[in-house]
């Protein structure tokens, strides 16, 4: 039962991705062509509200549901890791028009051929695991 809240939060996320057309391949292409404010508005407003909320959580030391501290793990600094990894991710994101969240929501939506993309992303993740010691981080 402790997982039920995650199920409902996931459903909410999937409905948002669907209803705001974030799972649309076309919206991603439109975004990278700078021809609509839609995706920028979504990410921008989420980040602005997110940043305000995170500051409130840190200053007021908001607790989790169980009463523990809400912790944020700072990411270690690197240029090659984030830039190269980010560029590879971006190339794929624009080609298939879906990042990891939307991929799964699209399956539920009935677009089963996105399963090939999910399979590819698992191979990609696995390949990273195999070669990560040889990559600049």
């Amino acid at each position: 039962m402790k997982y039920l809240k995650f199920l409902f939060t996931g459903i909410l996320f999937g409905v948002i991705l669907s209803k705001a057309e974030i799972i649309s391949w076309y919206r991603i292409i439109e975004m990278f062509r700078f021809e609509s404010f839609h995706m920028y508005g979504i990410i921008g407003s989420a980040v602005i509200l997110g940043a305000i909320g995170v500051q409130v959580i840190k200053r007021k030391q908001v607790k989790t549901k169980e009463g523990g501290p809400i912790t944020f793990s700072p990411k270690s600094m690197s240029f090659p890791r984030y830039l190269i990894g980010g560029i590879l991710f971006g190339l794929g994101w624009a080609l298939v028009g879906a990042c990891p969240g939307p991929m799964f929501t699209l399956i539920g939506y009935g677009y089963l051929s996105i399963g090939v993309v999910i399979f590819g992303s698992l191979i990609g993740t696995f390949t990273y695991g195999l070669f990560r010691n040889r990559l600049p981080h």
């Binding site: 995650f6 999937g14 989790t64 600094m77 830039l83 794929g92 990891p100 990273y128």
Partner: protein, 185 residues
């Protein structure tokens, strides 16, 4: 209930995504979708190949449940919250895509040219989907996160590494759409 059926504007979707992130923080976890790909690799026995997949994946079960919810959310939207209206894209996007051989967008979220039955039956069609997925999976893990982990969670926490990753996402995405699309299609 009409407002549920129509496409949601950005100022509804953005704040709701922030809410999803805060709910996960309140539950003691964090918002990041691509971690699930690593978890699935671990469950499939990836730990036999490299220690990157040797971790306590059971601690990530909550995220798999969240992912399953996101699948259900898509199913519910498709079956109970759908309008048949075609997507209202910028006409110049539509024109540019038509120039590359993509049919006029309908209410469908994915183009037939890339995701239709005939694309799946051709070697080049399957290769594009596999390769695109590969880049997303490899890139997300290399960069340590995807759109949810870096662009939403990381930027909300004012992380410079996340800003670098998001800049990378855009360099990659712009290169694909403006440089490689005319070559590929």
């Amino acid at each position: 209930m009409d407002f549920l059926i129509h496409p949601w504007p950005w100022y509804v979707a953005g704040p709701l995504i922030a809410l999803v992130m805060f709910l996960l923080l309140y539950f003691g976890e964090s918002f990041g979708m691509s971690s699930n790909l690593r978890t699935i690799c671990s469950m499939a026995g990836g730990g036999k190949a490299t220690n990157f997949f040797r971790f306590d994946w059971k601690s990530q079960q909550w995220n798999l449940v969240f992912l399953f919810g996101a699948v259900l959310g898509g199913f519910l939207s498709a079956n109970y919250l759908t309008s048949e209206a075609p997507i209202l894209l910028n006409p110049s996007t539509v024109n540019a895509l038509e120039g590359l051989g993509f049919a006029k967008p309908t209410s469908a979220y994915l183009p037939k040219k890339l995701f239709g039955v005939s694309a799946l039956q051709s070697l080049s069609g399957i290769s594009i989907l596999l390769f695109g997925g590969f880049l997303v999976g490899f890139g997300a893990r290399y960069a340590g996160g995807c759109t949810s982990g870096h662009a939403i969670s990381g930027l909300s926490n004012l992380q410079v590494p996340s800003l670098l990753a998001v800049i990378g996402f855009f360099i990659g995405g712009l290169t694909m759409v403006h440089l490689f699309f005319p070559l590929l299609f």
